[in-house]
């Protein structure tokens, strides 16, 4: 029967108080941890998908939408741009541009986007083929690791694309795609994409739409020059990497494009920061709420300890009579607060991870990103320290009162 055990017995002796304190602590800690888990993964996703992209060029509209559509594949396109307009930025050898990737989006297969592009996207996202080969001919597709795993796609699997970004049988196109390769997992957005050549996207939308025969794109090849021949056709956007991002001319490029062409150029770094700022307000409000709940839980622990102290005044005097030092009583009360905080921490952590896994699937749909529920975000130790600190703070005044217990007066009253 040591002091820790006694503290534990004292805590569970008052189950209703314990319940109230734990509910509050669990809510506070759980909410804070959930927000951190969510933010950590979202930020991780955004950061990974920056992939060194300096500029996205597409149709005029919302720059943030252009970025979200072209880099994160969670928003609709702002419109299309013609190859003719896009040519200068797609041509190999532009003095300011190290790499450019043409994107044609607009269709999906079971909710996963089909992107018409060339092999430059693999270099940009550092993606390797795991099995099979890269797409090249019409209606050949290479699947990202997650698409393949979730939909069970293998080499030779065939599928039809649907118009738009949600799975809808009524909007199904006629062209049949065939999987020729599957990519290794990269952790970036490429995992979620079905890649094919640009002409396949054009062909599937062209009127005859009868698959492999008699296509006007039969001569389309994976060379960039081949793409540029189809001046009248359209693509959605272009991802651009500069040769040197501090170059003065490169810095002026977005403004030139926006002012002098019908195209729009958007800078991912700038737009994503704007997005963080917007989300930040909501997150901050939630965080504030969580911190408030945590403070309320500390007050609740404080009040319940203070009440129990009043009820236990003979008990505490008794412990002194039995040989306990004033510091023993201080330690006892502090431990009661800290043990409650520890329990609250554990329950809060557990709850937030369970909530993350419960909400994971709906979040994944919305953000086109697989949320993991049992990962760490690196700030657990801080939450742990803060929770224990809260427990200690809540207990310290009652503990000082216990330390000062006047045995003579207490026992005389008894």
């Amino acid at each position: 029967m040591n002091i820790l055990k006694l503290a534990w017995k004292n805590i569970i002796h008052n189950p209703l108080n314990l319940l109230l304190n734990l509910v509050l602590l669990t809510l506070g800690v759980g909410l804070i941890n959930f927000i951190l888990l969510f933010n950590h993964q979202l930020k991780d996703k955004f950061d990974k998908n920056l992939a060194g992209i300096d500029l996205v060029i597409g149709a005029k509209g919302s720059p943030l939408q252009l970025i979200l559509c072209s880099m994160y594949h969670i928003d609709a396109p702002t419109g299309n741009i013609s190859i003719k307009e896009a040519k200068p930025f797609l041509r190999i050898g532009h003095p300011l541009i190290k790499a450019s990737v043409p994107l044609s989006v607009g269709d999906n297969y079971k909710g996963y986007r089909i992107v018409g592009t060339d092999h430059s996207i693999l270099t940009m996202y550092d993606a390797q083929v795991a099995v099979g080969k890269k797409w090249s001919g019409l209606y050949e597709a290479t699947a990202g690791a997650e698409v393949a795993a979730v939909l069970g796609l293998e080499i030779g699997s065939e599928f039809k694309s649907s118009h738009g970004f949600s799975d809808d049988q009524d909007l199904e196109h006629d062209g049949v795609f065939r999987i020729v390769g599957i990519l290794e997992s990269t952790g970036s957005v490429v995992d979620q994409l079905l890649l094919c050549n640009t002409a396949s996207v054009w062909d599937v939308h062209s009127n005859h739409g009868d698959g492999h025969n008699h296509s006007k794109y039969d001569n389309f090849s994976m060379e960039r020059d081949s793409l540029l021949l189809y001046e009248e056709e359209e693509i959605t956007s272009i991802l651009v990497q500069y040769v040197n991002r501090t170059n003065f001319q490169a810095l002026n490029m977005p403004r030139n494009i926006n002012e002098n062409t019908d195209l729009q150029a958007a800078s991912p770094a700038y737009e994503i920061n704007r997005l963080y700022d917007m989300m930040g307000t909501g997150t901050k409000a939630l965080q504030l709420l969580a911190i408030l709940i945590a403070i309320v839980s500390a007050i609740s622990i404080f009040v319940s300890l203070l009440n129990s102290l009043r009820q236990r005044k003979y008990e505490l005097s008794l412990l002194r009579v039995l040989g306990g030092k004033p510091t023993t009583l201080f330690f006892l009360i502090v431990m009661e607060g800290v043990i409650m905080a520890l329990l609250g921490f554990l329950l809060g952590m557990l709850t937030s991870h369970i909530a993350m896994s419960a909400m994971g699937s709906s979040l994944s749909e919305r953000y086109n990103y697989q949320f993991a529920s049992w990962i760490q975000h690196g700030q657990e130790a801080l939450i742990f320290a803060m929770t224990l600190g809260l427990g200690f703070l809540a207990a310290v005044i009652p503990a000082i009162m216990a330390y000062r217990t006047d045995i003579h007066n207490n026992l005389s009253e008894g």
């Binding site: 029967m1 008990e315 040989g323 306990g324 030092k325 026992l411 008894g414």
Partner: protein, 215 residues
């Protein structure tokens, strides 16, 4: 003279709370295995004296000796430890730690005094006092008689040099009064402790040859 070699003795203790209420206590000298009664009506400072003897309240003047130790020559922590090891207290109303069982209350008593906990000793003591079957009961669920026995068990478990009892019989009928006193005497003798009972219960006068009256 043997008188000044007693297990518990006091030397000209004086204490006051207000100027109107000054206590001047007679010297006490009680040997090991000896029992002594301190009688007095309400308001004569019985509880004050008991607390002074127990090392709970430092008197304004005078000294308490237990064995060869001067209680109020010890530091705070030393005094707490000394009290836990060498003084057993039986309160008028039995106080226990509510959240733990009868047996755990005894183990806690050993722990608080800095002794190793001895479950066997605790259990055998409970059996000897006929409450062995209640060892897993929370103290507040025990009957008054059982609680009194438990508080006696607690007072002697550390084999103290002195047992101090505060009005142990005031709420009891004649039959139970005698029983409790017999039990206290018997247990005190067994651990060779001095037994001091502070009370206003005149019935006890007939049982104890050795008593001091406070006035």
């Amino acid at each position: 003279m043997f008188t000044y070699c007693g297990m518990l003795r006091t030397d000209s203790i004086k204490h006051h709370y207000t100027n109107a209420q000054r206590f001047d206590f007679p010297d006490i000298n009680c040997n090991s295995s000896e029992a002594m009664l301190i009688l007095g009506q309400s308001g004569v400072g019985k509880t004050t004296l008991l607390h002074i003897l127990a090392g709970i309240l430092k008197p304004q003047e005078g000294q308490v000796y237990i064995g060869d130790k001067a209680l109020y020559g010890l530091s705070g922590n030393q005094l707490d430890k000394f009290r836990g090891q060498h003084i057993g207290l039986v309160f008028q109303k039995p106080h226990f730690v509510q959240s733990i069982t009868a047996e755990e209350n005894l183990l806690l008593t050993q722990k608080m005094a800095g002794q190793p906990t001895d479950k066997k000793l605790a259990d055998s003591l409970l059996s000897k006092l006929n409450i062995g079957h209640r060892k897993s009961a929370k103290a507040y669920k025990m009957s008054q008689g059982e609680q009194q026995r438990l508080s006696i068990a607690r007072a002697i478990i550390n084999r103290p040099k002195v047992i101090l009892a505060d009005e142990p019989t005031s709420a009891l009928d004649d039959k139970n009064c005698e029983k409790v006193i017999d039990l206290l005497k018997e247990q005190a003798e067994e651990v060779k402790a001095s037994l001091l009972i502070v009370t206003h219960d005149n019935r006890l006068k007939d049982i104890f040859s050795n008593y001091i009256e406070l006035s």
